[in-house]
C-alpha cells in the first residue's frame, strides 16, 4: 500500500491548480454554470471537451477524467462557487469529531462550509428517502449497509469508483471487512466506509469484584469463557428487587447489539445458503434465541423489553444497575465520558460453538443529484485522509477503515480495548444485501418490512407471550413473503 498522505497532498496541489485556473477563467466559469440549464448555449464556452460534456458536468458524472476534463468540470463547483454542504448523521456523540473535521476542511477549501444535520437513527434513513423523493437530500450522509444497498438500487448514490481512482486511492487501502459490505451487487462502490465497528462484552469490574466473580478477561485467557459461564455469572451478579434490582446481563431485542452475535456464536446464520430464505427458524438460530429468552424469562438475570422502556441499556450500566452488557466499539466514546465512579473493561463475546461476533462499518454516501456533488466528494475524500479517519479510532468509535490507520483504536480506557480489534478476526458481517442482490433486488429495499417484523416477533418471545418456535415460524413466513415480493 502506498502512502495515502502523498495522495492527499497531491490532491491539494491539484485542487489549488484548479482553483487558479478557475480564477483565470473568471466570468467564463460563471457563464458556464449559468448555461448549464440550457444545453445548446453551453457548448461554445467549453474549450476541450465535446459539446455534450458541460451539460453533464453539474450532474456530477465522473467523466473518465483526463487532465483536461478535470478543470472544466470539477472546479466550477468546488472552488469557484461558495458551497454549503449538508451533512446528515444520526449519532450526536460523533458531532465533536465531524465538526473538527469540517473546520479543517473549510480552512483548506475556503468557500465550502459544512452544516451537520442530526436526525435520530429511527428517522435518519426514512428522512433521506423522503428527501430523495423531493429531490433535495443532504449532500453527504452516514450510511449502513442495508440502506446503502437500497439507495444504490434507487440510483440515489453517487458512484465513487472513478473518483476514488482519480484521487489516487485504491480499494486495497481500506480494511477488507469494511469495504466488502459496501460493494454493490454490480461490483461497484457507492459508499466509502470510514470506520469498522465490532462487538465486545463490557463489564463493571467493581460489581464483579464485589460478587467475587472471576473477570471475563481471565476466563477468556483460560478458555472458559462460554455461554454457560455467562449464564452463571449473570445469576451471581443479579440481586435486589424493585427499583434496587441489579441485572447481571442484558439480552437485547436488537440484531447488531443482540441476537446476531448469539446466532453466529451458535454456528447459525441469518439466511440460507443461496440467500433466498431467512434462517431464523433454523435449529441453531432458535437455540440461540432460546438462550437469550431464558436469561430474561427463566433466570430473570436480564431486564425484559418492558423494563427497558423505563430505563435503557447505557443509563442502566452508568447507574450500576446493569453489571455487564454487549457493547459496540461505538459505545466506547460514551462509556468514557459517562463512567466516572467505577472501573470497567471489555473482552470478547462468550463462545458457544464458536467465538464470533458481528461486525459492521459506517460509510459516507453522496447524494447522486446533489448540486454540490464535487464539493461533497472533496469532503468525503478529505474525511478519508489518514489524519481525519484516525479520529474515529482515537475518539473511541471504531477501527478506522483505512488500513494505515487501523491501529488508532488502541488506547485505553478500557484497558483491554484490543478486544474490539481482536473481535474482528473471523467475525461475520451481514452480507444480506450484497448476496441477495445477486439473485434479484437487494433486501435493503425491503429492510423496513424485515426489521420491523423481526423486532416484533422476537419481542413476543422475549416478553414471554410466544414460544421461540411459534414466533420464528410466523416470522419466517412474513420475511420470506417480503423476499418474494421484492423479486416481483
Amino acid at each position: 500500500m502506498s502512502d495515502p498522505i502523498d495522495h492527499s497532498t497531491a490532491d491539494q496541489r491539484r485542487f489549488t491548480r484548479r482553483a487558479a485556473l478557475h480564477v483565470a477563467l473568471g466570468l467564463m466559469g460563471a457563464s458556464l454554470l449559468a448555461a448549464c440549464s440550457t444545453p445548446p448555449a453551453a457548448a461554445p464556452t467549453s474549450p476541450p471537451a465535446p459539446a455534450a460534456k458541460p451539460t453533464a458536468a453539474p450532474a456530477a458524472q465522473p467523466t473518465p477524467a483526463t487532465a483536461a476534463a478535470a478543470p472544466t468540470t470539477a472546479p466550477a463547483r468546488t472552488s469557484g462557487q461558495p458551497a454549503k454542504l449538508r451533512y446528515a448523521l444520526w449519532d450526536e456523540a460523533f458531532l465533536p469529531i465531524v465538526t473538527s473535521t469540517f473546520a479543517d476542511f473549510t480552512a483548506r477549501n475556503p468557500g465550502i462550509t459544512v452544516e451537520p444535520e442530526i436526525v435520530p437513527f429511527d428517522d435518519h434513513f426514512t428522512k433521506l428517502q423522503r428527501e430523495f423523493a423531493g429531490g433535495n437530500a443532504a449532500d453527504v450522509f452516514h450510511l449502513n449497509t442495508a440502506n446503502a444497498a437500497a439507495f444504490a438500487f434507487g440510483k440515489q448514490l453517487l458512484p465513487i469508483d472513478d473518483r476514488l481512482t482519480q484521487a489516487g486511492l485504491k480499494r486495497d487501502d481500506f480494511l477488507k471487512e469494511s469495504l466488502d459490505i459496501y460493494v454493490y451487487p454490480d461490483g461497484k462502490l457507492y459508499a466509502l466506509p470510514f470506520y469498522l465497528d465490532s462487538m465486545g462484552f463490557a463489564y463493571n469490574e467493581d460489581l464483579l469484584a464485589k460478587a467475587k466473580v472471576p473477570m471475563p478477561k481471565e476466563l477468556q485467557a483460560q478458555g472458559k469463557w462460554d455461554w454457560a459461564a455467562l449464564r452463571d455469572m449473570a445469576k451471581e451478579l443479579t440481586s435486589g428487587d424493585g427499583p434496587d434490582k441489579v441485572h447481571g446481563f442484558l439480552a437485547q431485542n436488537d440484531g447488531q447489539t443482540g441476537y446476531f452475535n448469539f446466532i453466529f456464536a451458535n454456528d447459525g446464520a441469518l439466511w440460507n445458503e443461496d440467500y433466498t430464505k431467512t434462517a431464523l427458524d433454523s435449529p441453531a438460530d432458535m437455540e440461540a434465541l432460546q438462550f437469550m429468552a431464558d436469561l430474561i424469562l427463566k433466570d430473570k438475570t436480564s431486564p425484559d423489553p418492558q423494563a427497558l422502556q423505563t430505563q435503557a441499556k447505557l443509563p442502566r450500566f452508568y447507574a450500576q444497575k446493569l453489571a455487564t452488557f454487549m457493547a459496540g466499539s461505538f459505545n466506547v466514546i460514551n462509556l468514557r465520558k459517562n463512567i466516572t465512579d467505577f472501573h470497567w473493561d471489555v473482552t470478547l463475546m462468550p463462545k458457544s460453538k464458536k467465538q464470533v461476533g458481528f461486525i459492521h462499518a459506517l460509510a459516507h454516501g453522496i447524494y447522486a443529484k446533489s448540486p454540490n456533488a464535487d464539493a461533497a466528494w472533496e469532503l468525503v475524500k478529505f474525511m478519508s485522509t489518514p489524519d481525519q479517519v484516525k479520529k474515529w479510532g482515537t475518539e473511541g468509535v471504531g477501527v478506522p477503515a483505512l488500513k494505515s490507520q487501523a491501529g488508532a483504536f488502541a488506547s485505553p480506557p478500557p484497558a483491554n480495548i484490543q478486544a474490539f480489534v481482536d473481535a474482528i478476526n473471523g467475525a461475520k458481517a451481514n452480507l444480506q444485501n450484497v448476496q441477495i442482490g445477486k439473485s434479484g433486488v437487494p433486501l435493503g429495499v425491503r429492510d423496513g418490512v424485515v426489521t420491523t417484523n423481526r423486532g416484533k416477533q422476537i419481542g413476543e418471545v422475549f416478553s414471554g407471550r410466544q414460544s421461540v418456535e411459534d414466533a420464528m415460524k410466523a416470522l419466517a413466513a412474513e420475511m420470506n413473503k417480503a423476499l418474494e415480493e421484492t423479486k416481483a
Binding site: F132, G154, A307, T310, T452, S463
Partner: protein
C-alpha cells in the same frame, strides 16, 4: 333588471374574493392532496425507483391483507370504546361546570388544559403512569392488593389504556361545547317542567337532552372523526404494539408509507379510510333528522 343583476354579480364577486384566500389554502393543502392520494393509490412506488401504474392491484391487496383488517378492527373497537367515554365524561363535566359554584371558572379552565396540551407530552406522561414497575396506576393497585397488568405492553390492556387517554384528552373540549349548549337552554323551560311536576331526572331526560342534541350531534361527529384518525398516542405510547394490538388504520398508513415505503399501497389504505369516514359522516347527517332537535 340588468342593474340588479350587475349588483348581485358584484356582491357575489366581493364574497368570493373574501372566500378566496381561505379557499385557495383549502384547495391547495387539502383537496389537491386528497385527490393526489387517490391517484397514488393506483401506483406502486417506493420513493426510490420510478413509480409503476398497477391499477386496482392495491385495492385487491387491501381486501386480503390481514394486517389491514386487524388495524381496521382495532380502530372500530377504539371508536366504540373511546367515543362514549369521551362524550359521557364530557357531558358529566359540562353538567358539573353548569352549577353556580364559586370558582367554577377556574375549574372550567382546568378541564380545558388537557385539550390544549400537546399530544406527545400527554402520551409520554401517561406512559409513565401506565408503567408496569414504576407507574402510579400500578402503585395504587398494589396498595389495594391487586397486581396490575403491564398495560401498554399487554395485548389485552394496551388498546383500552389508549382509549382512556384519548377520552381524558378530549373530554374538556367536548365539555366546553356541551356547556355552551346547556347554557343556551332557556330557564323558562325548566321552570315550566318543574311546575308540571317533573323531577330532576325527568327534566334532564325531557328538557336537557333533546335541547342539547345539536351540540351533542356536533360533538359525536367530531369525536368519531378524531377517534378514527387516532395516531399520536399510538405512536408515542405503543408504536402499534404489542404484536399489533394497538395498530390503527392511520398508524398502518404511516408505517406503509414511511417505514416500508409502499406509497401506493399506503395511499390506497388512506383513500379507503377517507371513503369510510365520509360514509359514516353522511350516515350521521341523515340520522340526525331522527334524533337532533332544532328549535
Amino acid at each position: 333588471m340588468s342593474r340588479d343583476w350587475r349588483r348581485s354579480l358584484r356582491a357575489a364577486a366581493v364574497g368570493y374574493a373574501f372566500l378566496g384566500a381561505p379557499l385557495a389554502g383549502y384547495i391547495v393543502f387539502t383537496i389537491v392532496p386528497v385527490l393526489g392520494a387517490f391517484y397514488l393509490g393506483l401506483l406502486r412506488w417506493d420513493l426510490l425507483t420510478e413509480p409503476r401504474f398497477v391499477g386496482l392491484d392495491n385495492v385487491g391487496r387491501l381486501l386480503t391483507d390481514a394486517k389491514f383488517w386487524n388495524a381496521l378492527k382495532n380502530t372500530v373497537v377504539f371508536c366504540l370504546g373511546s367515543v362514549p367515554m369521551a362524550i359521557g365524561g364530557g357531558l358529566a363535566l359540562a353538567l358539573l361546570m353548569n352549577q353556580a359554584v364559586p370558582g367554577i371558572r377556574v375549574f372550567r379552565g382546568i378541564y380545558y388544559i388537557p385539550y390544549v396540551t400537546s399530544w406527545v407530552a400527554v402520551a409520554l406522561v401517561w406512559s409513565w403512569l401506565f408503567d408496569r414497575d414504576y407507574g402510579l396506576l400500578n402503585f395504587v393497585l398494589r396498595v389495594g392488593g391487586i397486581s396490575g397488568p403491564a398495560w401498554l405492553n399487554d395485548p389485552t390492556w394496551a388498546l383500552p389504556a389508549i382509549m382512556l387517554v384519548f377520552a381524558w384528552k378530549w373530554m374538556g373540549f367536548y365539555a366546553l361545547i356541551l356547556l355552551a349548549g346547556l347554557q343556551s337552554i332557556p330557564r323558562s323551560l325548566y321552570e315550566a317542567a318543574s311546575i308540571d311536576g317533573a323531577g330532576a331526572w325527568a327534566r334532564f331526560r325531557n328538557v336537557t337532552l333533546p335541547l342539547l342534541s345539536p351540540a351533542t350531534f356536533f360533538v359525536v361527529v367530531t369525536a368519531l372523526i378524531n377517534a378514527l384518525n387516532v395516531f399520536d398516542p399510538v405512536v408515542v405510547m405503543t408504536q402499534g404494539g404489542p404484536n399489533d394490538a394497538t395498530q390503527t388504520v392511520v398508524k398502518y398508513i404511516v408505517d406503509n408509507a414511511f417505514q416500508f415505503f409502499q406509497i401506493g399501497y399506503a395511499s390506497a389504505v388512506a383513500a379507503a379510510t377517507f371513503v369510510l369516514i365520509l360514509a359514516l359522516t353522511l350516515g350521521q347527517n341523515w340520522l340526525q333528522r331522527v334524533w337532533v332537535y332544532y328549535d
